[in-house]
């Protein structure tokens, strides 16, 4: 018999997960370190940090990429996460994944090492941009064409894992990972496919990437010690910490998963998204778009606020985000707010930007599996204006049946997911 949710749609379950963060590769390593409260944030060694206001990040340094490009690292991390997810799901055969790919990926640009390479090819000084343009053609740099196309990471994943159809690369800024999952959920609910690969990857710790966020005053400058920089919900928080990583999930209809005897890791019960048109980088002060986003996710799951027993917060540790997340959540959850344990994985892994929504959905599902909530580390001076029950500094055992995972990004991008252990 076909299992449907209360709206008559196919139930969407997770049958495979893969993760890479600054803490390590794979679910096992990440989970052990997350619940031990370890930080993956360290002083940057990939490039010189002289002159930078922020000198630490959650870089993934244990994955060699040569010659280094941020897009190349994104691609490599994406491969690692997807490989782990597909292996766990045990679906399809090698190089033949039986569904589409939805990939959250950072916007792509030619990077400084390649720009410098062109300048060196021109030689001399007092050259113009036209001189650079003149040396680009003729095949010498042909690989850079493909490398710096926006679709290149999805291309590579699609080739290797044999996903079906046209792979979709997307960006909704810091909500991208959640959007990739939402696209997969929608496709399965429409009955277009029984299975989808939803992945998100980020490798953007390079000088210009760091400087751009720094110029917007978005980053923490509490460089020493780097492990203590990311302080979600603390009074002395001063910004987020850039980080790298990837997450991948195999989504399936419940029926298809059961039919092939797959182990069900959790359910994507609901997705909500709502745009904020107040400002390019700031939330509407009344919190209405965040409130609406959370309500849409609850409505999509057909759940009441009281049924949510843990929030995996966006919790970037910027002064603005954490305040607005509290405003939004408390408006929806009312008196129940203080009864919900809240935690931010970004205190340990940093903000994996395009990947964060998927990385944190996976950590939410691991939380459901282990009935243990990873801590928000560096929570020594609680912000008195944020009355969350923050899981501070030490992991907490708890009965967790439904997790809300929030993602709020530049450009007014808000997305919330609701993940449960069993079909509602």
């Amino acid at each position: 018999m076909s299992v449907r949710d209360k709206f008559g749609r196919p139930v969407v379950v997770v049958t495979g997960m893969g993760i890479v963060t600054s803490l390590g590769a794979g679910k096992s390593d990440n989970w052990t370190k997350l619940v031990a409260g370890e930080s993956g944030i360290r002083t940057i060694t990939r490039f010189p940090i002289d002159g930078l206001k922020t000198t630490m990040a959650g870089t993934v340094d244990f994955v060699p990429v040569a010659p280094f490009t941020s897009t190349g690292l994104s691609e490599r991390l994406g491969h690692m996460a997807v490989e782990e997810a597909i292996a766990q799901a045990g679906i399809g055969s090698k190089g033949d994944f039986p569904g589409p790919l939805f990939l959250a990926v950072a916007p792509v640009e030619i990077e400084w090492p390649q720009r410098l390479e062109l300048a060196h090819e021109v030689g001399g000084t007092h050259f113009t941009y036209d001189d650079l343009l003149k040396v680009c053609g003729g095949g010498k740099f042909v690989n850079y064409h493909h490398r710096f196309l926006f679709g290149s990471v999805a291309d590579s994943l699609s080739d290797t894992f044999g996903t079906k159809g046209s792979p979709i690369s997307l960006s909704t800024a810091c909500a991208s990972g959640a959007t990739a999952i939402q696209l997969g959920v929608e496709a399965i609910r429409r009955g277009e496919t029984d299975v989808a690969l939803c992945a998100a990857t980020e490798g953007s710790v390079n000088p210009e990437g760091l400087v751009r966020f720094s110029l917007l005053s978005a980053l923490s400058t509490q460089n020493d010690p780097p492990q203590a920089a990311s302080k979600p919900f603390s009074k002395n928080r001063d910004g987020f910490v850039m980080a790298e990583g990837a997450g991948a999930l195999v989504l399936e209809s419940y029926d298809a998963a059961v039919a092939r005897g797959a182990k069900i890791l959790g359910v994507v019960a609901g997705c909500g998204e709502l745009t904020d048109s107040f400002h390019r980088t700031r939330s509407s002060p009344d919190g209405k778009p965040i409130i609406g986003c959370i309500r849409k996710a609850l409505a999509d799951a057909g759940m009441a606020p009281e049924q949510i027993d843990h929030i995996n917060a966006h919790g970037t540790a910027t002064p603005e985000n954490d305040k607005m997340e509290y405003v939004g959540v408390s408006a929806v959850f009312g008196e129940h707010t203080g009864k919900i344990p809240v935690s931010s994985n970004k205190s340990m892994v940093g903000h994996t930007i395009s990947a964060a929504g998927a990385v944190e959905a996976i950590i939410s599902l691991l939380t459901l599996e282990h009935q243990l909530i990873p801590p928000t580390i560096n929570y020594d001076i609680p912000d008195p204006a944020i009355l969350f029950d923050v899981v501070g500094n030490k992991a907490r055992e708890a009965r967790v049946t439904a997790v809300m995972s929030n993602s709020f990004g530049f450009g007014g991008q808000n997305a919330s997911l609701i993940l449960t252990r069993e079909p509602a």
Binding site: G51, L118, F127, F150, E273, G411
Partner: protein, 401 residues
Amino acid sequence: MSETRSVTSAPVEVWITGIGLATSLGEGLDANWEALNAGQINVDQQGFAPYIVHPWAKVNLEAQIPKKEQRQMEAWQRIGTYAAGLALDSAGLKGNKDILSRMDMIVAAGGGERDISVDTAILNAEAEGNCTPGFLNDRLMSDLRPTLFLAQLSNLLAGNIAISHGVCGTSRTFMGEEVAGVDSFKIALARIAGGQSDIALVGGSHNGERKDLLVLYEFGDYNLKNEFKPVWARKEHPGFALGSAGAFLVLESKPHAEARGAKPLARLSKVVADRARRKEAGSVTGTLDRLWSALDVHDAPGAIITGATGAEPVTSEERAFLDHHKAFAVRSSGTRFGHTMEAHFALDLALAALSISRGALFAPGDSSGVESEMKEAPTQIVVVGAGHYRGEGMALVEAVK
């Protein structure tokens, strides 16, 4: 191959109820229509020589974008935000807060322009021997404008449309060159047809007057050089001339449109996409053939509007596919507008819907023999998009009977 019609209950009919076009040929539907039929092509062969680009026809930006918002945008965002406003006007939705606040949006986008002068200055300084460890950091910290990042971010075209026009139901940005445009319509159509959405603003924008983009495509020798020729006449010297255009469409479920008294310009019946393994010769032709059979195309009077780029070998592969459908009148938008990358599929869908609504196909654009006159009013137009490097897509636009 994936398609959009296979929903569990009967699919909802999806209408195109608004079109916004701001291109190198002008602003608005009348100006573009008249320019197409007059055979106009707007190319700049000097400003970027030896490369050829199609410059954006200047508009009065304030008609769609408040001045203080314009200052926060780079050209590609202004072009797109402007065209999005035209689409909302065309659909009769401008200022309709009730609908705009729940309107879905999918934008196909690349990224924004670099600050060429900053890049050139930094590279020259490095060449002059400035190579201390902190050199690049110092220069970036002092030379980059803080707001430039937001003007470059892919999802900030959607962000600007939300801010300027109040489109704030949902917002998704698809990237990945030409096929991102196809996928944006494929997903928007599937969501409406499947009852997950009632109304959506879908489209993209591209600014071809960008040397940083010429660099990217020159790596692969894709830029058209020295002499402008129509797309079908470029085989000896293949390549595309970057184009500048904003193109947005309002897609709407038939019941939603009827309830507010909106008239359809055309119906968007189907959108399909795939990704040929292009290492094998003939794979693009084969993929296009399969996509065609996934559309429900009847015989004449029909037409094909293609975004063929002029790059090789993909353009020749597409011509082999077109040869299988000689009863259909073909139009290359690339000849007329240049190649507008992520925005191009939206541009072609706009031209198809416009042609259906005006009861005529616009005039042929060259004398190569590929494009022929069409006397009848087209009732079906197939839009074809094969990316210069990857990705193929097709859509069927039909008259609403």
